[in-house]
């Protein structure tokens, strides 16, 4: 029996009204793989990311996570989302909860973990991302880099099978980008399956198995990172790389 890919998207299409945001998307991510998604603003990267845990429903096509088709809205979908970690550009930490409470909320509510166990695991995770000493503060009291690391810890607390990152460093001041990328690189090395929307080429080269280039809702290239950055095949990718390299 061959193992099912962790993420499988087959002929996925989606519109926002008139706008065709995803056009016939076919994408597989094997367990343990790290895939970086890049492309111009508005090309549909966030939407792609968000369809995988059905924060955005699709018009047609199928999406499977670990061999299971995405359920319709309801309890089963919540169960699937618990297995898919997501990290947002704007962190989205729960503003009324402390950092530790952010990390323990879902394990206690969804997995029915006891408070003591959830806190023990939560503190260990916060140590891993280097912010255990901030555990009793509220999100607004932390720097952007610290907030994003807390958000990663919150997602990891559910022991997800796969992690989705949507431009996790785009909202950060430059000096905080690396502390977040370091956590992500370690996660990748440890074998986590990851789909990462980012323009950080250093990360893509260091940690990614593949680079997927999107433009106008289509996957235009799906290549090895080194090959993609040194010799992109399509004109659209060449054009895009020219822009992000020159500024």
């Amino acid at each position: 029996m061959t193992e099912a890919p962790m993420i499988r998207m087959v002929s996925v299409d989606k519109h926002f009204g008139e706008l065709h945001v995803l056009r016939d998307i076919n994408l597989e991510v094997a367990a343990g793989q790290v895939v970086v998604v890049l492309g111009p603003s508005g090309s549909g990267k966030s939407t792609l990311c968000r369809t995988i845990n059905r924060l955005e429903p699709v018009d047609s096509g199928t999406i499977e996570v670990d061999g299971q088709r995405l359920p319709e809205e309801g309890k089963a979908l919540a169960g699937l989302r618990a297995d898919v970690g997501m990290v947002f550009q704007s962190f989205n930490l729960f503003a009324h909860k402390t950092i530790l409470q952010n990390v323990t909320l879902a394990p206690m509510k969804v997995r029915r973990t006891s408070k003591a166990d959830a806190e023990k695991a939560g503190i260990a995770l916060l140590e891993r991302v280097g912010i255990a000493n901030q555990r009793d503060k509220y999100p607004a009291q932390l720097s952007g880099g610290q907030q994003q690391r807390a958000a990663i810890a919150r997602a990891l607390a559910m022991k997800p099978k796969v992690m989705l990152f949507d431009e996790p460093t785009s909202a950060l001041d430059p000096e905080m980008v690396n502390e977040v990328l370091d956590v992500m690189t370690t996660l990748a090395k440890e074998g986590m399956t990851m789909l990462v929307v980012t323009h950080e080429m250093g990360f893509a080269r260091r940690a990614a198995n593949r680079v997927v280039f999107m433009s106008d809702g289509e996957i235009v290239e799906d290549a090895d990172p080194e090959a993609f950055f040194t010799a992109p095949r399509s004109d659209r990718a060449k054009d895009f790389l020219g822009k992000i390299l020159t500024h």
């Binding site: 989302r81 009324h96 909320l105 969804v110």
Partner: protein, 221 residues
């Protein structure tokens, strides 16, 4: 004024009657209104429809008509309310006032829900919380801060509206004291003045209590 002093025990019992009526109605309106607000933001279309219809109907109907409906209309279709201390109008009054006020509570809670950034609910759903858990653990606690002031106005309006329930036949509450005193020969000015003061004795402390609650929520973060 002389009525207030001479008939003080009557005022006290009317005061307590109004408090009791308002307490039941407030509990009903807050629970029902919050539930309706949850319906209005739910992903299930029939629930949204129920929430929207309720608000449209009750917010746009005169309270007197709603009360007539609960007191006389519902019994005709088989909904019979129990009596309360021998008074047949107490529970229909509480139910009508709750149903009416719930529409306003719903809109206050819903605008509070909308004031919470969408990313909060998205993050909650993304970690696997159900719709109810997302609302209960993440969205509503954050909505509370913006909801308390408008909810306070709704509650004070409800206390004043409870006089209509009294005018209607729920004896033993404040407004009905006026009728009793006028019948006993006091001037309307004197007895109504007493009634007005007694209402202020409820609504002003309620306002002060709400201000305190607002400040308490404000510092708790």
């Amino acid at each position: 004024m002389d009525a207030l002093i001479a008939e003080f025990p009557r005022f006290v019992s009317g005061f307590l009657g109004t408090l009791r009526l308002c307490l039941f109605a407030a509990i009903g309106a807050l629970l029902l209104g919050t539930l309706l607000a949850a319906f209005r933001v739910s992903p299930v279309p029939p629930l949204r429809w129920v929430g929207t219809s309720w608000v449209t109907v009750f917010r746009n109907s005169p309270l007197v008509v709603v009360l007539f409906l609960f007191a006389f209309g519902l019994p005709q279709v088989g909904v019979v309310f129990p009596t309360f201390g021998g008074n047949a109008f107490f529970w229909p009054g509480v139910a009508g006032l709750s149903a009416y006020t719930a529409a306003f509570v719903c809109e206050a809670v819903r605008s509070g829900i909308n004031s919470v950034p969408a990313g909060q609910a998205e993050a909650a759903r993304a970690v696997g919380l159900t719709f109810q858990q997302t609302l209960g653990a993440v969205v509503l606690p954050q909505a509370l801060r913006t909801v308390v002031p408008p909810l306070g106005s709704v509650m004070i309006a409800m206390i004043k509206n409870s006089a209509i329930v009294g005018a209607f036949g729920v004896t033993g509450e404040l407004f009905s004291v006026d009728g009793a005193l006028t019948a006993a020969g006091y001037s309307a000015l004197s007895s109504l003045g007493g009634v007005a003061i007694a209402y202020l004795a409820i609504t002003i402390p309620a306002g002060i209590g709400l201000g305190w609650l607002e400040r308490k929520i404000e510092v708790k973060r």
